[in-house]
């Protein structure tokens, strides 16, 4: 697991300059303007970083190479989900700092932002990772863009509706919990798919 994350770290530190700049921009805008769209874009862009590692793996043939190394396929999948989880957490921290410095410092707002980012991130990962791991990044490109658009739209709608009002105080905790269950199901599905994957061509 350590080896796989170290490999992704080496990969990302060479490629993440521009993308991370965009993430910072969205995080600052999220804090300054308190707009859910910017908050979600910050999370989305960071998740793109973890998706990019999958794209590079498949392009280079590393996804096949690593399966012949003494690494279990379950570990391989787990490392990808862990990286995505780290990306979500970094986006939460960035928006949190930005909001504390530039925006509404109320606990409600801070918890609300974190809840939306975590839920969005988990569902995004849960919907996309099994398909990308099974069919490859290129073939899943349209699908994950559609998922991202639908999720951002839905989350923006819900966050502006009555459901997000203080009459449902447990909502910021229940939704991430539900998303966590979904992502755990997705993890199991991904492990099953990758365990049965064959590398006839890459």
């Amino acid at each position: 697991m350590k080896a796989l994350l170290l490999k992704d770290w080496y990969l990302l530190r060479k490629r993440w300059g521009i993308l991370f700049g965009i993430v910072l921009l969205f995080s600052v805008l999220a804090g300054a303007q308190a707009t859910m769209l910017y908050t979600l874009m910050s999370t989305m862009m960071l998740l793109m970083i973890s998706l990019n590692t999958l794209a590079y793996d498949q392009h280079d043939g590393w996804d096949a190479y690593v399966c012949a190394l003494p690494v279990s396929r379950a570990q391989l999948v787990l490392s990808k989900y862990l990286l995505a989880f780290l990306c979500i957490m970094i986006s939460v921290v960035l928006v949190l700092i930005s909001t504390l410095v530039l925006g509404d410092r109320s606990a409600e707002s801070l918890i609300g932002n974190a809840s939306v980012q975590i839920s969005f991130g988990f569902i995004f990962v849960a919907c996309n990772f099994p398909l990308i791991l099974k069919f490859g990044f290129e073939k899943s490109r349209v699908y994950y863009l559609v998922v991202a658009g639908v999720l951002i739209g839905l989350t923006s709608l819900v966050s502006q509706s009555e459901l997000a009002s203080p009459t449902f105080p447990a909502l910021p905790f229940l939704v991430p919990l539900f998303a966590l269950l979904v992502v755990l199901g997705s993890l199991r599905l991904s492990i099953f798919l990758v365990k049965n994957k064959e590398f006839s061509e890459t």
Partner: protein, 283 residues
Amino acid sequence: MEHAIACTNVRKKLGSFSLDLENFCVQKGTVHGLIGANGSGKTTTIKLLLGLMKQDEGDISVLSSSAIAQDADTRNRIGFIVDDASVPSMLNPKEMGAVLSHVYSEWDATAYSKLLTQFKLDQKKPYRSCSRGMKVKVLLAIALSHKASLLILDEPTSGLDPLSRDEILSLLSDYSKDEEHTIFITSHITSDLEKLCDYITVLDDGKVRLTEEKDALLDSYRLVRTTHSGLSDFDPEAIIAKREGEFQIELLMHKEQIPTFAEPIRITLEELVIMLAKGGYRT
């Protein structure tokens, strides 16, 4: 003798192509070469052995493990090069070494560094900027740096210049001197296999046409040259294959079946494989 690799009644279908390995073995402590044309099933065989593909039928045993895809401990003892599977292109050999030191339980960083120096590879040059020869050398350095007892190598010398090929062959030859070490290698370049291998298997259209000890194989056949008019002096039953030129005909025959008037010529592995293919693999 103990087998490093054993395939029994293995079948793998890929569209219209079918690979059949009825009874194919690689003995421990030997160098075994697999020869075959493009599309004959060499890479599919390698991928089955490494657990990157699953057979539809039959049993595969690699270092006594019958489920290599699930057996990370056994994979720890295998070094490999496979077509279209590679290390991340943006990482350099130094970074790959750091990653793999956490993968292989017996990773030898000193041996790895020594091999990179021997191959004159820049440790900080990204893999994607390396030439084909350099890339093979990086992969070979990885395969040889974790005390593997089995090397499974898919076309390691193809596309390399003669000097690099010779360098790699001598390295593999040194590795094979240890009786615990086994090499299973595929190549188009039969002269490389002739230098290196103890055993040769010929794969054609997914079927094993021939498996034999190399020296015995080369010793039992001879080429005989004759003219078109002189062909009638030979027993047709004794001619295994023939290659007709404008002025002369080359015949492949068993050494002991060559008539006394003809002059036997020692055959190379490449000539033998070509002639056997022409004769429909009649041996």
